[in-house]
Structure formats: structure tokens, C-alpha cells
Chain length 344, copies 3
């Protein structure tokens, strides 16, 4: 898009060459063909050094720029608007079942449902109104997909999985795999490992979103449950019979072991690990890479470290070496004093 | 299912309203329509507060319940039996090749094999008797799938992968991807990065089970080997040329770097990381989130922390701050004493 | 392959039985039917105990072997050569579009492109000369696949993703999923969680390789960028708007949070976690399982631990317990001395 055309769309004024623009980018990462933005004169150095071809600046900016300028009232907001114009158009997933999709005759399809190519929906599944199930998805028997849900390509839902309304599942999400459970006994000194049947399901509440390649195991019995509006990032592991009350966030690569209960409004940061069979109280935050071996009753609102503890306790461990050095220096001085006293 | 019907199936006696029941759940997580269970009077409070519509209780329970009751000899066992009745029926994967499956004519198929829709089996692969290969699976050239194995949807086996008998692979498992290996040299100060050919395979022993989205890389030469009955959870990473002797467990999100050897009967807990080119002795357990930089000879049976050490050593690190405070208090007192002495 | 035939191919001399050989393996892991190798007499014990059926040894080896021997000048090199002979033949992906592939008529296909069965290429995508897109892949609208790239089965590229030349994507890679971003506000005390539109793309430079099941999120605006020749291992998470300058390595299960910038020639080891909105200077290495909360300016070349610090500082923390014990022993001795003095 020409800078002049963009200026019109953003209600701004172009100064300088009418360059062709392809994308948005921060001042530092932008390159030729990019639009960038700045509203605060304190970033003047970044503006001066940017490789962007055009930069959005406020009307009163007097510090120049090494490229074309579009002056707008609110550069940040204008850049978001421009980003939407540059963005690859969102694919249209019109209602209809692709001829290569294999949908069992027993499936109950709502109105305005989209089912993409090479997708499989097995018998007795139910798909709500307006749901979009993209290409190459596998929906097992007796699954339920709530109205307005969006399932991206190559997701698998094992039999009996239930999704609420407006659920979003990104590529490669795996719901309803068998939980990890075995009984080991010994016969004549040799181990005998038997699989424990995993008879439950996975159920997601309304508005849940799950990131790419995240895995949530089916319950041993009953359900593994993710409450409404909980947002789970990529590559997260949720064990069997976990229950998340809702309105919580679980960031990338975190893991929650079997039968643990997470409260409402919790935030589990990236790569954190939570043991099985414990409870995390409402509103608790578990810091990145923290390891939580025991229930958290909410008396500490933010835990960190392994085993997880308060920020203060973590800091004390980190400070230990310095404090020991200080202690040893004082001890050495005192020894000298005592030696002097003994001479007397 | 009606509670009255369930009572008959479980050989129990119904007391109260004949409610409709849909699923099983623990006392705390159960909701309307659920069956729950309790055998120990010490959980009376949980029974009193349960939202279940019916609860399995022993014949001698005199503490009541806020819902229908089915009295049975062993409530735990009865609940497992009920769970099987509530469970979505296990899908039947009858012998036969789906017309949309693409199976090369050179493939050797055993008897009673199931091959699902949109699955691809490339040339010279071998599939053993009774194997089930579900929908949208990719089986590369020269792969071998042992008799009675079960491969869930959207698994990929790169060329030459070998599975023993009774292997279970959950959705999204990736076997035989190239290992991470590059040679970096410098020419005129510029790095030149060359890929090292990954010429080996992945081989899994009998009875191995692999969780969703787990990845196991092919060997650089020879084989990456997972011994019999080893059970691997979701999102685990196994590097090239790793060897696991067998009868071991590797829990979710753990990682084992290249060429490491893990003994028999080991247990690698969730999110643990094991360095490359080391050996873990038979029966050693590596705790959750532990990081193991060096071989473990079995003299410590359970290691924890990064770098991994004994529970005792880990506790010492955690206790350091308190011990320093104690030491400093004692030192202060002694200083005062010395100061007094000097006055004399 | 017969050992005699292999000896000819390797230019070596066979001694002992002319066994049938199937694969290569290290001395310790080799089993019946395997070829192994040794060039250094110090490993004589491993040779004596190997279960290999044949071992490559240098001409001057006088220490025998419990199996057939092929004498060659350079056993290591010969074994690599043998490995290539034993390897399952690399599948031939001849130019052409499989009849079951669904390629939109608007797609621009270069010459000699391979598109495998059940693969989908949506409208306005561009595929460069000689690119190989294997089976069951999903290429969204407006994606660009550079010349000579190789995409293994079951990869998904969401709309607008751009790959440079010679890019390799292993099975299950997910590029262009929505980044994790929500605005939470409160209305009448109830949380309202709104999804922030993710309008940018993912762009990979020339020669980038991405391991199985790794996920890279699309930018909020602009691009998530992985520079040329960067090699990413399996199960890695890259957040939205991350920028990697190029020639870097990111090992299995590491994670990089949103908007972070990683320099050139960096090495991020397995399971490390890097916070969002920070900068890692060129050439810095982040150790396994390290957690990096703040920018690294390159003054420390290798960081380790959580929060990440120098090897020296990490060692100090680990040594703290011993140093405290030593300090306490000295303090006790000094107390005794003071007590003696007081008696005087």
C-alpha cells in the first residue's frame, strides 16, 4: 500500500517520499518497506536509527526522521489500525461441509457450520451453530463442539470430549488422550506393568482458548475440566482429572499433574510445574519455572522457585553467598581481637 | 442412566429420588447429574457438601447425604464399575482398510489390521496382525508396526521406524525426526553451519506407550532405542541415540539429550532434564524439574534440583538462609562478649 | 548386507565369520546383527564385551575381538560410511502434485515442486522451485515457501507465514498460531477477558531448521522473525514478536517469551526460559534450564540458573551450605576461646 493511501486511511498527513509499505514493525526491528511509529520524543534516537521506510509521528514532533513521515494524533493507535490493513486477510470459512470431509450420518450439525477438507467427524458427535472446524481435524465419537467454537487444522479430540461455546483450539491441540496411569506389581521378581483404564473425558467451559500443541488428558473417571474463559498457551500439559475453576491463565510449557485443582483467576507462568493431587487457591500466581510440590492456600499471592516459596524467601537463598562472606569477614576480625586479648 | 438401573447393575440398594445420572466425579468436583462415592466416615463433610446427585456409600453409613444414595459393599470399586458404564463407548476399529487410506501395494499387512481414513502407509512398510492404525496417520517407508499395536490419529513415523508388539502411540507423537546435529566452521570469519546426516532409526520395544505430542529423534547412526514396557508421557523429548533399557517411566515434559543411556526401572519425573552422553543407573529416580549434568551410578536413588543432588543436599541449600541468620546472631552475641572483655 | 560385501565397500579386510549385518551401533549398545567400531586400544574392554557381530578395527589392532573383524584405516569414518549403507533409503519425493492434494488454482507453484497426498495449499500461497511439501501438510492463504525448502508431514502454516530458501520444518511444527494476548477489565467486579487481535505473521530466514512439534506464534503486529541459519530443536516455544538475529541455536523444550530479541550466534540450551521484552546480546549462551528475567548485555558469556547468573555465582549458592558449616565450626571454637578468657 502506498504511504499516501495509508495516510488517507489513517486521517494523517504524509511528509516526504510516497513509498510502498508492506508491514508494521517496532522502530528497532523495522526494515525497508515497513511502517513504524513513535509518540514520545525520548525515543528520538530509535527514530533516527530506524530502517523503516515511513514512521507515524505526532503533529508536534520536531525532531525529524530518516524516512517518510505520516503525522497522526495517536501514532500507537494508528499503527494498530495500519497493522490490520497490512495483515493477511483473515481466511473466510464459509458455512458448508467440504466434499472430502468424512462426517458420519449420525452427527448432529448445527446451522452455519464450516467443516474443512480432510476433516473427520465420527459418529454421534454434535457440532453447534456457527462452529468452524478447519482442515484435517479429527473429532472422535460422541464429542460435542459448542456453538461458535473455532478449531484450527490438525487438532484431535478423542471420543467423548466436550467443548463449551466459543472455544478456540489452535493447531495440534490434543484433547482426551489417555492419562498416564499404570499399576506395577511383581511376579517372581519381574515387574508386571498394567495400564489403568482411562474412562473419563475432557470438558472445556465456554470461551476457553488452547494454544498450539497443548495436551490435555482425559480423566481416569469423571472429567478433566477447564473452566470458562481460561486461556492456555502453547505446549502446556494438563494431566488427568485436573480441574481449573475458570478465568485463569496457564502460560507456555507449564505443566499440571493429575487430579490437581486450580482456583479461579490464577495465573500459572511459563514452564512452571504443579504437582498432582494438590489445590491452588483462587487468584494465586505461580512464577515462571516455579515448581509447586504442595497446596497453596493463598496466603502467598505469588510464588517462585523450586520448591515454590515467596519472593522474599527466594531472595534470601540468592543472597546467602554474600551474607556468608560478610559473616566470615566479621568472624575473622573477631578472631584477631580475641587473639590480641589472649596476648594480654 | 437412572439411579435405580445403576443400583441393579452394581448390586446395590437405592435410597431417595431415582435421578438421572451421566458421569462419575470426586465428592468435591461432582455436580448435578454426577454419581460420587465415599467409604470413610472421616470424609462426612465432603459428603454433606457434595453437589453430586447420587452418592455410593457403604451399608453401615449412618451420616446421611444431601442426595440420593446407593448402598454397596465397596463404594470405590463400584464407582470404577459405574465409570465404565458412563464412559463413552470405546470406538470399534474393525479390521479393514478405509477406502481413503493410501497404502502402497508393497506394504505387508497382517491379518485383522485396521487402517483409518486419510492414513498413509508408504512402500515396504510392515504392519503386524491385529494392529490398529487410526485416521490421518503417516507411516513412512520401511517402517515396522508390531502386532497388536495401536496408533491414534495424526501420528507420524518417519522412514525406518520400528515398533515392537503391543505398542501404543497417542495423538501427535513424532518418531524418527532428524536429531539436532550441525557442524559449524568459520570461513573468512563467517560461520558456516552444516547439517550432520541423521542416518539411524527409532526402535521401540514391546509394550511401549508414548503420550501425546512426544518427540523421539532418529539416531545419527544406529538406533534411538526405547526398551520394552517403558511408558512415556506427553510432550517428552528424547534426543538422538538415547537408549532406555526398559521398564522405565518418563513423565510429561521431561527431556533426555542425545546419546544418554537410561537403565531399567528408572523413573524420570515431569519437566526433568537429563544431559547428553551420560548414564543413569538402573532404578534411579530423577525428581520433577531436576537437571542432571552427570552420570548417576545409583548410589543416590532419588535426585532432585539443578544440578541434581540428594534430597539432603537440596534441603541444605534451602536451609542456608536460616542457618546464616542463626550464625550471625551468635556472632553478634560473641562480639558483645569480646567487647566486654576488652573493657576489663 | 554380508560382512564380506561390506568389507569390499569400505576397502577393508574381513577376518572371521562372514555374518549378515543390519545396522551400526556403539560398542556398548550394539547387539547381534550390528556392526560396531573402535580405533583406540584404551577401549579394549568395551570391544571384549560388545555384543556386535562385527567390529571395525584399525590394521594394527592386536587385542582381538569376540566377533568378526573388518580392518580399515579409519574405523570411525568407515562406520559413518557403513551407516549410510545400512540406513533406510531416503524417500524419493519426485516433482509433482499428488492427486489427493488440494492446491488452490491461485497458488503459484515453482518448478520441480513436490506436494504430497492429503496436503492442502490455500489460495494465494507461493511455493518456490524445488520445494518439497510432504503428506498431510496445511499451508494457509498467502503463505510463502522458499525455494528448496522441505516440509515434513503434518506441519501447519497459518495464513501469511513466510519461509526463506532451504528451510526445513519437521513433523508437527506449528507456525503462525495466535500469540497469547488478552485484555482483562472488570465490570461490576466480574472479569471480562478480551482477545487481542494477532495481526502479524511469522517469517523464517534462509536455512532455518525447526524441530518436531515446535510452535512459533504470529506477531501481534509486524512479524515474529527467525533469522537465517538459526536451528531450533523439538518442542520449543517462541512467543509473538520475538526476533532472533540469525546463526543461533535453540535446543529442545526451551521457551522464549513475547517481544524478546536474541542476538546472532547465541545458543539457548534445553529447557531454558527467557522472559519477554528483553534482549540477549550476540554470542551469549543460556545454559540448560536457566531462567533469564532480564536483558543480558554480553558481559557474561554463559549464564546458568534461575534467575540466570554466572557459573561462579551459581557455584557460590551451591557451596553455601558447606561454607556455613565451616563458619559455624570456627565460631564454636572462638566461643570456647572467649569462654576460657572470661574464666581468667
Amino acid at each position: 500500500m502506498k504511504a499516501s493511501e495509508l495516510a488517507v486511511q489513517l486521517g494523517g498527513v504524509l511528509e516526504g517520499t510516497d513509498v510502498e509499505l508492506f508491514a508494521c514493525g517496532g522502530l528497532e526491528e523495522a526494515r525497508a518497506g515497513d511502517l513504524s511509529f513513535c509518540k514520545d520524543p525520548k525515543h528520538v534516537k530509535l527514530v533516527a536509527e530506524t530502517k523503516a521506510s515511513c514512521v507515524l509521528l505526532p503533529p508536534d514532533w520536531t525532531l525529524g526522521a530518516p524516512c517518510a513521515i505520516i503525522r497522526v494524533e495517536d501514532p500507537n493507535h494508528a499503527c494498530m489500525k495500519a497493522a490490520a490493513l497490512f495483515a493477511p486477510p483473515a481466511p473466510v470459512r464459509a458455512p458448508g461441509v467440504h466434499p472430502t470431509a468424512i462426517v458420519d450420518p449420525s452427527v448432529k450439525l448445527g446451522v452455519n457450520v464450516h467443516i474443512g477438507p480432510y476433516t473427520i467427524v465420527e459418529k454421534n458427535a454434535v457440532v453447534g451453530d456457527g462452529a468452524v472446524i478447519e482442515a484435517q481435524v479429527f473429532i472422535g465419537e460422541y464429542c460435542e463442539v459448542g456453538a461458535g467454537s473455532h478449531i484450527y487444522p490438525q487438532v484431535t479430540l478423542r471420543e467423548g470430549t466436550k467443548l463449551g461455546k466459543g472455544v478456540i483450539l489452535h493447531c495440534g491441540v490434543r484433547l482426551g488422550g489417555d492419562g498416564y496411569g499404570y499399576n506395577t506389581t511383581f511376579e517372581n521378581g519381574l515387574p508386571k506393568i498394567e495400564k489403568i483404564p482411562q474412562l473419563g473425558i475432557v470438558e472445556l467451559g465456554d470461551g476457553v482458548e488452547i494454544g498450539s500443541n497443548t495436551t490435555i488428558d482425559r480423566a481416569r473417571i469423571g472429567r478433566t475440566y477447564i473452566g470458562p474463559m481460561t486461556k492456555i498457551d502453547n505446549l502446556v500439559q494438563i494431566g488427568h482429572n485436573v480441574k481449573v475453576a475458570g478465568y485463569s491463565g496457564i502460560i507456555a510449557q507449564a505443566g499440571v499433574a493429575g487430579s490437581t485443582q486450580i482456583g479461579s483467576g490464577c495465573l500459572i507462568w511459563a514452564q512452571a510445574g504443579i504437582s498432582g493431587h494438590i489445590k491452588i487457591a483462587d487468584g494465586v500466581q505461580v512464577g515462571p519455572q516455579a515448581g509447586v510440590p504442595q497446596s497453596l492456600d493463598g496466603s502467598i499471592k505469588y510464588v517462585i522457585g523450586t520448591p515454590a516459596t515467596s519472593m522474599k524467601d527466594m531472595a534470601a537463598v540468592a543472597l546467602a553467598p554474600k551474607l556468608i562472606q560478610k559473616t566470615r569477614a566479621e568472624l575473622k576480625a573477631l578472631k584477631a581481637e580475641v587473639a590480641e586479648l589472649k596476648k594480654v
